[in-house]
């Protein structure tokens, strides 16, 4: 068994009386692509927010590469190499694509003096290579806010790669992208996983995408872990089908 990138032990999070996550435990293996599915409102994004440090959790523990991170800030977690993308795509809309990528360079070792430096040519080159990788090279000098929604998703993905993460939390990477672009995106997610060795933990509504992409899938329902296993097992799990479609 390979090492674990992310481990959750009995994580609970409630907003007032509404329990968004109850005793969720899961494991994401290093170098794997792991999926997280569940009907709307089942607590997937809350779980991502807990992992990435957006809010304190009520109980339980979250480990990244064996290290407890549930008390760390968003920035500290990002600097450890655990980076997330957003469901509502977030880019720097008034800056051009290259600048968007430059600002996304890793900040792990950045010291006070670094903020007054210029970007080294190899960083700019890397930014352009990544724009090429996601197919936005010809648009590199366009203001990011003028790109289409799908292109903005690709840009955000490139920014995440620029950050040189060890693991990426992707919140619905294909939502809102037109079907012909989806295959290209799946291909790039797989390449990021294989070529750069980045662990991917993906929330996805599109069943075709997640079954195609992930080796292991967790399913949440009403804040609790319902089932997990290989794509085949999940697809045929009666409880999962019922959670999505209701009992007959």
């Amino acid at each position: 068994m390979s090492a674990l990138a992310i481990e959750l032990h009995n994580v609970s999070k409630a907003y007032g009386a509404i329990v968004a996550n109850r005793d969720v435990s899961l494991k994401v293996e290093e170098g794997s692509i792991t999926g997280l599915i569940g009907p709307n409102g089942s607590g997937k994004t809350t779980l991502f927010n807990s992992i990435a440090g957006y809010h304190p959790i009520d109980s339980g523990s979250i480990l990244f590469e064996g290290r407890e991170i549930s008390k760390l800030s968003v920035q500290q977690i990002a600097r450890l190499g655990l980076v997330r993308t957003f469901q509502q795509t977030r880019i720097f809309s008034k800056m051009d694509c290259v600048h968007n990528l430059l600002i996304a360079m890793p900040h792990r070792d950045s010291e006070y003096g670094h903020m007054f430096r210029h970007y080294p040519p190899e960083t700019v080159e890397k930014a352009e290579r990544l724009l090429e990788f996601v197919g936005l090279y010809s648009k590199r000098r366009l203001i990011a806010g003028s790109l289409s929604f799908g292109q903005q998703k690709l840009l955000e993905f490139a920014m995440a790669l620029m950050n040189e993460p060890k693991a990426l939390l992707l919140d619905e990477p294909t939502a809102g992208i037109n079907p012909t672009l989806i295959n290209g995106l799946i291909d790039r997610l797989k390449r990021a996983n294989e070529e750069f060795g980045i662990t991917l933990f993906v929330i996805e509504h599109n069943m075709r995408v997640v079954m195609n992409l992930a080796q292991h899938i967790y399913c949440l329902s009403r804040g609790e872990l319902l089932a997990h296993g290989s794509p085949d097992r999940i697809q045929n799990d009666q409880r999962v089908v019922e959670a999505y479609l209701g009992t007959q």
Partner: protein, 350 residues
């Protein structure tokens, strides 16, 4: 630097050097113009580049003014006794003492303002949007009231500043040179700063601070340093302005919350916030209009300026340079390329 921009720089420099000799009667007014340019530039660092609209930058102006005044008096006399006499005590400073005090005062004003900016940043940068604006405004008002209530620095009665050792004309030129120098240094510094990673980081915080945090950017660090650079230059401006005016008091001179403080915001908005030249253009236009309304519309001057600000904010939010940028993006380095231009860098595949 393009030829067009070189001509602009040279023309402005020529104006800066010759103005007090060509228009000797307007030396003080043009000194104030340079101060306005600096007000505008330093406000835009936070308000335009970083998206944090401060309504309390005047705090550093007043603080610098008072730090400098106390320093200048203290090297020769007891500050408490001096201020208690409301200017009745005439302390004669030798030229050497005067310049020493002024130099020391300006240095301490800049330093003191930076220290206070660091302390304030711990409190204020937990706030965003309108809360930050109101928080900073609160600090400015509090600073004015505290100064007015503090007897040691003269309270509401103010301080008569040490007298410049020379004829009035020389005095005017001396402070004019000071303001020009500080405005130029401020411009060159910000121009360099916006060209480094720092500039991009400020823009990223403006566009989406949460995203910047999610990428691990040290946002707090950038915000604090940006606030400190504004405080540094405003502290020096305060010290110079106090000495040029000759008499300082808290509400009208040091912490004019409703005049200078609002002008600081209005000028970059008029010229186009978030650009380097917008705030400068805005400052020049606004200051000329201000002088004109004071001369030709006396009694209605605030109505006229208020109207200008209202029209600007309601109908023309992007400001002059913002409007030009929307019309002519290529002038600002925004390139739109055809897809048939060379479509890949030397190596592909990342």
């Amino acid at each position: 630097m393009t030829p067009r921009s070189r001509i602009l720089h040279i023309a402005l420099l020529v104006f800066a050097v010759t103005a007090p000799f060509v228009f000797p009667n307007y030396t003080v007014a043009i000194s104030v113009l340079w101060m306005m340019v600096m007000f505008s530039l330093t406000w835009d660092t936070l308000g335009g580049q970083m998206g944090y609209n401060s309504l309390g930058n005047i705090t550093f102006f007043g603080l610098g003014m008072y730090i400098s005044a106390v320093t200048q008096i203290a090297i020769r006399y007891d500050v408490g006794k001096y201020t208690a006499a409301y200017g009745a005590i005439k302390v004669d400073f030798t030229p050497h003492q005067y310049y020493l005090g002024l130099g020391l005062g300006i240095a301490l004003a800049a330093l003191g303002c930076v220290i206070v900016a660091v302390i304030l940043s711990w409190i204020l940068f937990g706030l965003r949007g309108p809360y930050f604006a109101i928080g900073t405004l609160g600090v400015a008002i509090a600073a004015a009231e505290l100064t007015a209530a503090w007897g040691y620095v003269g309270g509401g009665g103010g301080i008569a500043m040490p007298v410049f050792p020379g004829p009035p004309r020389e005095r005017g030129l001396f402070f004019y040179a000071g303001f020009v120098l500080v405005a130029i240094v401020c411009y060159l510094f910000l121009r360099w700063l916006y060209g480094t990673r720092f500039g991009l980081a400020l823009n990223a915080i403006r566009d989406d601070e949460d995203k910047a945090e999610a990428l691990g950017l040290h946002t707090r660090r950038y915000k604090t340093v940006a606030w400190c650079t504004s405080a540094f230059f405003l502290g020096i401006a305060g010290a110079l302005f106090g000495n040029m005016t000759g008499f300082i008091e808290p509400l009208e001179v040091a912490y004019p919350v409703l005049t200078f403080n609002i002008f600081m915001v209005a000028m970059p908005l008029l010229g186009g916030k978030g650009t380097l030249w917008g705030p400068i253009l805005g400052a020049v236009l606004f200051d000329v209009l201000r002088e004109a309304t004071w001369t030709y519309l006396l009694g209605w001057q605030y109505v006229a300026l208020g109207l200008l600000i209202t029209v600007n904010v309601v109908y023309f939010q992007q400001g002059i340079l913002g409007w030009v940028r929307a019309k002519k993006p290529e002038w600002f380095g925004v390139r739109v390329e055809d897809s048939n231009v060379k479509a890949s860098p030397a190596r592909s595949g990342a």
